[in-house]
């Protein structure tokens, strides 16, 4: 169709045609234009914010950020503060528990939902609805459920089982597990939904093959289907991980970091220091420490991907 070819022909050859470039990388200006909000956000918000956070972590900024550098003093204090050490320990435990249990429980629910059950819609809605609640609300509700004088414990004792005990939040050894439970209640439904979607995406022939081979259903789920759901697992993993690293609201609502400082987490440390404790420098040092493992993870992931691509390219 010659008219189309002629119509745009002149415009299609950009200014670079002036010199005989033989190797040309097309610059998609429209693509850049379309993603301008992303560019601004990525560079203008995240990169700049992170750079400033790191810079301020070397200053003695108080209420507002300043540039009076004090070297590593903030970090020195950070790593000799019990509360920070406990916070780090807690976020690791919280993260490990909620991710492992979230994945396992979520996958189990998805598998059971996948048994051509009746009322699938109803069950799915029941498992999903807590995610519609904010973490603050989740925390409030579970704090109340776990209140020794009002909640489940009191209710069970009232019906006669007087030695019954279920008040994890009042004990510093168990409080964190109570928070984990609240978090699971909120988030497992989404993991379930992602896993279920992953299950439904697995080729039906896999099932036929497994059935013919006489592999028990549970083994098929565990050893054949699960490894095929890399995408679903990755999505659920990222979603959960962002929640874990930033965990804040639910702890505030359930325990406020207590009893004592036993359920403190890094995000609360950061936030309290940059707001009410008016020590932005200290808060930023903590924030920088929080970002470090994530940065590491992304760099490693990027290197792995790059390497894989290179190998693929060679083959």
């Amino acid at each position: 169709m010659s008219q189309v070819a002629q119509g745009g022909g002149a415009a299609a050859v950009p200014a670079s045609s002036a010199f005989p470039v033989r190797r040309r990388r097309k610059f998609n200006y429209q693509s850049v234009l379309g993603t301008l909000p992303m560019i601004i956000t990525a560079i203008g918000v995240f990169v700049i914010c992170i750079i400033f956070s790191v810079i301020w972590s070397f200053t003695n900024s108080k209420v507002f950020p300043n540039f009076n550098f004090v070297g590593l003093a903030q970090y020195q204090r950070l790593w000799t503060t019990d509360r920070w050490l406990i916070s780090v320990q807690n976020v690791v435990i919280f993260g490990a528990l909620s991710m492992v249990f979230g994945m396992v429980f979520g996958y189990l629910l998805a598998v059971f939902m996948d048994q051509r059950i009746k009322q699938e819609d109803l069950f799915r809605s029941i498992f999903l609805y807590p995610f519609a609640m904010s973490l603050v609300v989740t925390g409030l509700v579970w704090q109340w459920m776990f209140d020794p004088n009002l909640g489940i414990q009191a209710a069970v004792r009232q019906i006669g089982w007087t030695s019954f005990s279920l008040a994890p939040l009042v004990n510093k050894e168990t409080a964190l597990y109570g928070v984990v439970l609240g978090g699971l209640w909120n988030g497992v439904g989404v993991t379930m939904a992602i896993m279920l979607a992953g299950l439904r995406g697995v080729d039906a022939e896999i099932w036929k093959a497994a059935k013919v081979d006489g592999i028990p259903t549970w083994k098929t789920y565990l050893f054949i289907v699960l490894p095929m759901m890399r995408g679903a697992i990755a999505t659920a993993f990222i979603l959960q991980l962002t929640g874990v690293v930033r965990v804040f609201d639910i702890v505030i609502a359930m325990t406020q970091g207590g009893p004592g400082i036993s359920t403190q987490v890094p995000a609360i440390y950061v936030i309290q220091h940059i707001t009410d404790r008016a020590n932005v420098g200290q808060g930023m040092a903590a924030a920088t420490m929080m970002l470090l493992p994530v940065l590491l993870l992304i760099v490693v992931q990027g290197l792995l991907q790059w390497n894989a691509k290179r190998k693929q390219g060679r083959a």
Binding site: V32, T35, V47, Y129, Q158, L196, A234, I274
Partner: protein
Amino acid sequence: MSTNALPLSQPIVDGPRGAKPKRITPARIGVYAFLVLSALFFLLPLWVMIVTSLKGMPEIRLGHLFNWPAELTFDPWIKAWDTACTGRDCNGLKPGFWNSVKITLLSVPVSIVVAMINGYALSFWRYKGSELLFAVLIFGAFVPYQVVIYPLIIGLREVGLFATLPGIVVVHTIFGMPILTLLYRNFFASLPAELFKAGRVDGAGFWGIFFRIMLPMSVPITIVAVILQTTGIWNDFLFGTVFAGRENMPMTVQLNNIVTTTTGIREYNVNMAATILTAAVPLVVYFVSGKWFVRGIAAGAVKG
């Protein structure tokens, strides 16, 4: 019928024939037992919230957390919606509700359209550095919100958007971007590249392919995005207090004012009613569109 005379167990022919009888196996019972028990775990708090919100305070003090109210009252709901005090104003949650509606209705579409274009560009129109930008964005998904608040305040102040409705929309767009972009990028990457090529042969450009081919195809994943964003933005407290401006304070701020303070006895029933009222919109969204949620995720988000 003469067959009635025959005992049912008597075989008519040798060996099995016809449709295999559907039996209730122990495994089947196990499946339902697990699901029902799980459902109880998920429903228990909601049940407690509902019954508590329908009780009077004297009855709450008696305990009996799980019991249906002996004396049903809707006063806590009326109070939470209409008359509970949040500072000097005693108008309940009502005014904040409309602010939240406003913020959500504006922020959800804007943030989704931006993320959609990002995902589309990252899948089909990569340019030098676009992958790096994406990595930064994903990194941003892990940044505690509070860390970026100070620079963001200064930035928005400079462009004159601090404490305005457009300001809060911008903030929600920024913080929704990482996960939504990831969602859309995965979705578009799962579409056949030939579709994109066909579009280019047909003469459609960046926007032509986006609006006329990709946009209509991304309905399933967009449902997921809408659900996630509606929930996230509706439930937001932090950004609302800082960036929305006094006139646009969302419902969650008022919920916080009602729930975190009371003199004397905490009015648990009002708190619970207020909590349910605040969560009502996302809850409805979930119950109505839960089915499409799983389908939408299946449509692309789970493909690695």
